[in-house]
């Protein structure tokens, strides 16, 4: 489970001064559900997810992931999550297998367990054909599969996806969407950020609309439709953002 409490992140910019990238954000994500963070570019989605992934430290407020505090137990938090974003690239000179092995070892997996996990993941994601190929020689779809395998190798209870389909072709994007659904089916807590309304509509059990670093509204898609009186998620989004 993920629980964010008044999460705030301030950045200092020489030209623009102090920027509140995330401003008092609170929400709760439950296991077996996909929680969507929906917002335009620059709304604060990536910063929010980086705070949950302990890649950044909050300026104020806090969050817990599987009961571990992002400020006090960052290493335990990272051990409990699988983090996938467009910014998490792969080591081009390592093979697909070496990459997944490396992250498995960093997560402290014993060698025998790591072997089992590797075989299972490579089989499930249909990666055996290119497991010994260097990542810089893989197609974008293959690379995304390696990234997914990397996030899954330690079987984390929480998955964080930051715009995971951004820049991907239709087929690869479908693989990712299928993978997110599979995570939900396996009872994992999934938080997912996107600016693509259709994706949020297809995947999310609960949605938070984020704009200017703040949560504008939160609830199921049905609840948000009811609140705004709009059916199309694009219209729901625009209405909620303009409302504030």
């Amino acid at each position: 489970m993920i629980e964010a409490r008044q999460l705030t992140k301030l950045f200092h910019d020489k030209k623009r001064g102090q920027i509140r990238a995330v401003d008092g954000v609170s929400f709760r994500c439950q296991p077996g559900q996909v929680f969507g963070l929906l917002g335009v570019n620059g709304a604060g989605k990536t910063t929010c997810l980086r705070l949950l992934g302990t890649i950044l430290q909050p300026s104020s407020g806090t969050a817990t992931v599987c009961g571990f505090d992002v400020l006090g137990q960052p290493e335990r938090v990272r051990a409990s999550i699988g983090f996938l974003s467009t910014a998490t690239a792969l080591y081009g000179r390592l093979t697909a297998q070496e990459t997944v092995e490396y992250f498995g070892r960093l997560h402290g997996l014993a060698e025998s367990l790591l072997r089992q996990r590797l075989d299972a993941i490579f089989e499930t994601l249909d990666m055996n054909e290119f497991r010994n190929r260097r990542c810089d020689q893989l197609s974008s779809g293959m690379k995304q599969k390696v990234s997914i395998a990397r996030t899954l190798v330690h079987d984390p209870p929480v998955m964080i996806f930051d715009e995971p389909t951004h820049g991907l072709d239709v087929l690869t994007a479908r693989t990712v969407v299928g993978f997110i659904r599979d995570c939900r089916a396996r009872g994992k807590t999934v938080i997912f950020s996107t600016h693509v309304m259709r994706e949020a509509e297809k995947l999310c059990d609960s949605i938070a609309i984020i704009h200017g670093g703040r949560i504008m509204a939160e609830g199921t898609l049905g609840a948000l439709r009811e609140r705004t009186g709009e059916q199309d998620l694009d219209d729901v989004f625009v209405k909620l953002v303009e409302e504030k």
Partner: protein, 402 residues
């Protein structure tokens, strides 16, 4: 235990990754293996050939004056190693234009002055700094030195004075240092400089690739998602940069040794007829000097890692590291400067201390108090640099600089 395991995992991955990178292989292995032999054999061969050719050339020399001194002139012209050219008032320009190598001016009434005992001055004109001009003047100088000695002996004999009258005693110098120590003194000055230079060169590329390179390729955030403490990530990376620095230094040293041996075997150490260079060095001294490089290499690795982490891109990192290389070379040159000796104050200045100490060690002098002080202080500097790298790795504003 977990700490060492994590550092080991990061180190092994970085090593594997780096060994698959052509640029790392070039900077870590190819450059030290090829640069030294190319420098020593290539440059040495060219230099020896040029000197030999210059020595073999029969120089053109002009005789000015001396018409009233036929005896001296005839003896001078009998020299077979010189081609004499007719006199010309434009001799200075001819020397400058390298059309003749030197000119000798025999003063008026030289033969008569030799007989009467009057003093005259023979003037030799050369182009200072021009090797062939010096070679051209050498036989002339030798001729007049011999003529001077012979005239002096004749004059002493005419007055029945013994030769020892003008030379009451001899002074003789005897070397007590073993040949290896002599070599150490001579080539020991340049080895510390080369060691420091190669150590830095070896660390540059991996330190940038493992930091700014990761930022550029987008793998930094992937790594930051792992549960390993950031300190351990820095230690693992630093260990890899240290490995590259030490391997480069060791290979440079080995190829330098092999080149020395080859130069000696091929007889390229000296020009024909010249003195041979002492090209042997005590291996145990070399091992101690290499040992002194360990904290130095760690200091360089951690410093460069911190700079690499601070940089947004590899280009920016290189633009910071190039001036650092120049700044480091200056104190490293300390070992090459004559008269600069190790003292307690210099023993605390980074790079200068190791440079001077290695020079002392290679010449066979072991100041154990300085060795301990310099090893200890360099370890402290390395520790500070490593702490700076860790602090840099923990700063969000540095990791996510755009």
């Amino acid at each position: 235990m977990t700490t060492l395991r994590n550092i080991g995992i990061v180190y092994r991955k970085e090593l594997l990754d780096s060994l698959r990178d052509r640029r790392t292989i070039v900077s870590m292995i190819v450059v030290p293996m090829l640069a030294m032999p190319a420098l020593m054999l290539g440059m040495g061969t060219i230099a020896v050939r040029l000197v030999t050719r210059a020595q073999q050339e029969i120089p053109k020399v002009m005789i000015l004056g001396g018409e009233d001194s036929p005896k001296t002139l005839a003896a001078l012209r009998a020299l077979k190693t010189i081609e004499f050219v007719p006199p010309s008032p434009d001799y200075t320009n001819l020397i400058s234009d390298k059309r003749i190598r030197a000119a000798v001016e025999v003063p008026a009434g030289f033969d008569a002055a030799l007989r009467s005992g009057e003093k005259r001055t023979v003037q030799i004109y050369i182009y200072e700094g021009e090797m062939k001009s010096s070679f051209g003047a050498q036989p002339i100088e030798q001729f007049f030195r011999q003529l001077s000695d012979a005239t002096l002996n004749e004059r002493l004999a005419a007055h029945n004075f013994p030769e020892r009258l003008l030379k009451p005693f001899d002074v003789q110098k005897t070397n007590v240092a073993p040949p290896k120590k002599v070599s150490g003194n001579l080539i020991g000055s340049i080895i510390p400089y080369l060691l420091i230079l190669m150590c830095m060169t070896g660390a540059i590329y991996p330190s940038v690739d493992l930091t700014a390179g990761e930022k550029e390729r987008g793998t930094m955030e992937t790594l930051l998602c792992s549960p390993v403490a950031r300190t351990h990530l820095v230690y693992g990376k630093c260990l890899m940069v240290l490995t590259a620095a030490l391997v480069t230094t060791f290979l440079s040293l080995s190829s330098m040794g092999a080149s020395f041996a080859l130069v000696k075997r091929l007889g390229l150490g000296a020009a024909k007829g010249g003195p041979s260079l002492p090209l042997t060095i005590d291996l145990s001294s070399l091992a101690v000097a290499f040992g002194m490089m360990l904290p130095m290499a760690l200091f360089f690795s951690a410093t460069m890692l911190a700079i690499g982490l601070f940089s947004r891109t590899t280009k920016e990192a290189h633009s910071y590291l190039q001036p650092l290389l120049i700044v480091t070379i200056m104190p490293a040159v300390a070992s090459l400067l004559p008269g600069v000796e190790l003292n307690s104050r210099l023993a605390l200045i980074p790079v200068v201390n190791v440079s001077l100490l290695c020079k002392e060690i290679l010449s066979g002098t072991y100041h154990w108090n300085y060795i301990a002080l310099i090893f200890g202080s360099t370890c402290v500097y390395a520790g500070v640099a490593l702490a700076a790298a860790v602090a840099m790795f923990k700063r969000e504003s540095v990791l996510f600089r755009t």
